[in-house]
């Protein structure tokens, strides 16, 4: 599907936000789903890049992506200008499950570019009916990506930075620990971020009656289940499952994070 670049904004050093308008409206998007974006019409770089959809118009007429510039492919994507065209396929994968009902509380924990799926989840048209407590972590205040979007959509919005330049000094999972210790009890936690963050969360919720769902970002060649390159290991059986098809969002109790 051909898309027109509507806008390319630098949102932090090394991070861009792309707004894309597909020629045909994108099908219904579940927050947590991703698209595969072709870097350019050449054989090098060859493979598409998987990118979580970061916010979308409910009618599918435009959507956003958070690009972290970590290599040649993402550098090229970050150099796109308004009016340029890119090829996108998707959305693919299983997004986050239904949030808890009105009586429950949903916690959202995001680190770095892990904010992407929650931009869509917390936008006015798709915001969960339950109470939401959002935890956003970064190195310093300059890297609290999409903080405005998240704080607008959240009932409680908490931040942690490693240098203390915004919010609580420390990592975001310390903040989660603190809130749990304070007696707040979520029905579900949705998380997306670096693996150590998700492992720490798994530890924090162990023994508690909380469903933890994590979004993985394994490297993918195809994004739709053909290459089997992106697999992750199941916890209970000696078997791998494709992150692109069975995930990228998994119940943390089912996979080895």
């Amino acid at each position: 599907m051909n898309c027109k670049v509507l806008e390319n904004r630098t949102i932090a050093r090394g991070f861009n936000h792309l707004s894309l308008a597909p020629d045909k409206p994108l099908g219904p998007i579940i927050p947590g789903q991703f698209v595969m974006i072709r870097v350019r019409e050449s054989m090098d770089p060859l493979l598409r890049r998987p990118m979580s959809v970061a916010g979308f118009k409910p009618d599918g007429s435009s959507f956003g992506l958070v690009i972290q510039r970590i290599g040649r492919g993402t550098e090229i994507l970050a150099s796109l200008a308004a009016g340029d065209r890119v090829d996108v396929i998707g959305p693919f994968g299983a997004g986050f499950p239904e949030p808890p009902g009105a009586a429950g509380e949903l916690w959202i924990v995001a680190g770095g570019s892990g904010v992407a799926p929650f931009v869509g989840m917390l936008q006015p048209a798709t915001r969960p009916v339950c109470r939401t407590r959002v935890f956003l972590g970064a190195r310093n205040s300059g890297f609290l990506l999409c903080a405005d979007h998240l704080s607008d959509g959240a009932d409680v919005f908490l931040t942690a930075t490693e240098d203390g330049s915004a919010g609580v000094k420390g990592v975001v999972t310390d903040l989660v620990e603190r809130e749990l210790a304070n007696g707040y009890a979520p029905a579900m936690i949705f998380a997306c971020g670096p693996a150590p963050m998700m492992r720490a969360l798994e530890k924090s919720v162990s023994g508690r009656d909380v469903r933890l769902c994590v979004s993985l970002e394994n490297r993918m060649a195809c994004g739709f289940g053909a290459c089997l390159g992106c697999v992750t290991k199941l916890k209970t059986e000696q078997r791998y499952v494709a992150v692109c098809r069975k995930g990228p969002v998994f119940d943390a109790s089912t996979i080895q994070i």
Binding site: L46, R219, A221, C222
Partner: protein, 306 residues
């Protein structure tokens, strides 16, 4: 302009056109129905199947390289029984050639697979995987040893009357010796080539990128090597050849056919563009017509002039 004839009879397998999805990039077929009607393409080759399901290799399994990629999936597959019960039945209504790629860990397992596959109505042909370089006990020792290759092909030949194709490893000194041994032992066709063994190093971690250390290189980067091997095999044998390696455009298809392929398999580019097969099917007639070619058949090996 008269219609260009795309039909190919490949070793007894009727293909409506020479564009076939390659093993390991096409799952068990159904996956691509989200993108197009499978009856558009000539056929596809399933993911390599074994008697028992295999979990595959640890991650990381893939790594992008210039105009290509390395993979070390480790022959992850659902096993023959699940394929028959869960996948094959769903393909009955699909009007396209279904070729099953298979392998064993022992010669006896190859034969057992061939015996079981021989009985399946929905299977148009068999592709023996002797060349997957990823699993130490799996393909590598078979496909790079000339005597074992001959033994596997000969015993599978006795076990099945279905068209029997052998997918050759390029990781040998002279691929034509293997091509001849396959023909001499009863193979009906060849698939040329499987991936080229390579590696990549993570310089920050000071170790190979792939958990398996080595992987198979595929994609446009390997096209000239694959084309050379098809050209050489065409001179060495008289059985038909599937040309495989980095095919991305209709002109690549024509290059492989002129080098000696009767049909082609497209692999890695399915990942980049899942619509590539139907696009090639639709681009090919126009290109052939512009070359004043009336049928695919008439240009097989056209680049050979002696």
């Amino acid at each position: 302009m008269s219609e260009v004839d795309l039909r190919v009879n490949f070793a007894g397998i009727s293909l409506k056109n020479p564009i076939v999805g390659a093993s390991g990039t096409f799952g068990y077929g159904k996956l691509y129905e989200q993108f197009y009607d499978l009856s558009i393409i000539g056929g596809f080759v399933t993911k390599g199947l074994s008697l028992k399901p295999r979990p595959g290799n640890p991650i990381p399994r893939i790594c992008e390289t210039p105009a290509g990629m390395l993979n070390a999936i480790g022959l992850q597959n659902i096993g023959l029984e699940k394929f028959i019960n869960r996948k094959l039945a769903g393909l009955e209504s699909v009007d396209t050639a279904v070729i099953v790629n298979f392998f064993g860990e022992t010669v006896d397992e190859y034969v057992q697979m061939a015996v079981k596959l021989d009985k399946l109505d929905g299977v148009s042909g068999l592709e023996i995987n002797i060349s997957c370089p990823n699993v130490t006990k799996g393909g590598a020792s078979f496909g790079t040893d000339i005597d074992t290759t001959g033994e596997v092909v000969s015993l599978c030949r006795e076990a099945t009357s279905k068209p029997l194709i052998v997918k050759l490893s390029p990781n040998v000194t002279d691929i034509t010796r293997f091509a001849r041994v396959c023909q001499d032992n009863g193979a009906d066709g060849l698939s040329v080539i499987n991936t080229l063994t390579g590696t990549a190093i993570d310089i920050a971690a000071r170790k190979p990128v792939l958990a398996n250390i080595t992987g198979g290189l595929s994609g446009p980067a390997i096209k000239p090597v694959a084309l050379r091997m098809v050209y050489e095999c065409y001179r060495a044998v008289s059985i038909p050849i599937f040309g495989i390696g980095g095919i991305s455009f209709a002109r690549d298809v024509v290059e492989f056919i002129m080098a000696g392929a009767s049909a082609v398999q497209v692999g890695t580019m399915n990942f980049v563009n899942p619509h590539i097969l139907p696009e090639l099917v639709s681009d090919l007639p126009e290109l052939l017509a512009s070359l004043k070619v009336n049928s695919v058949k008439e240009i097989v090996g056209a680049a050979h002039h002696d």
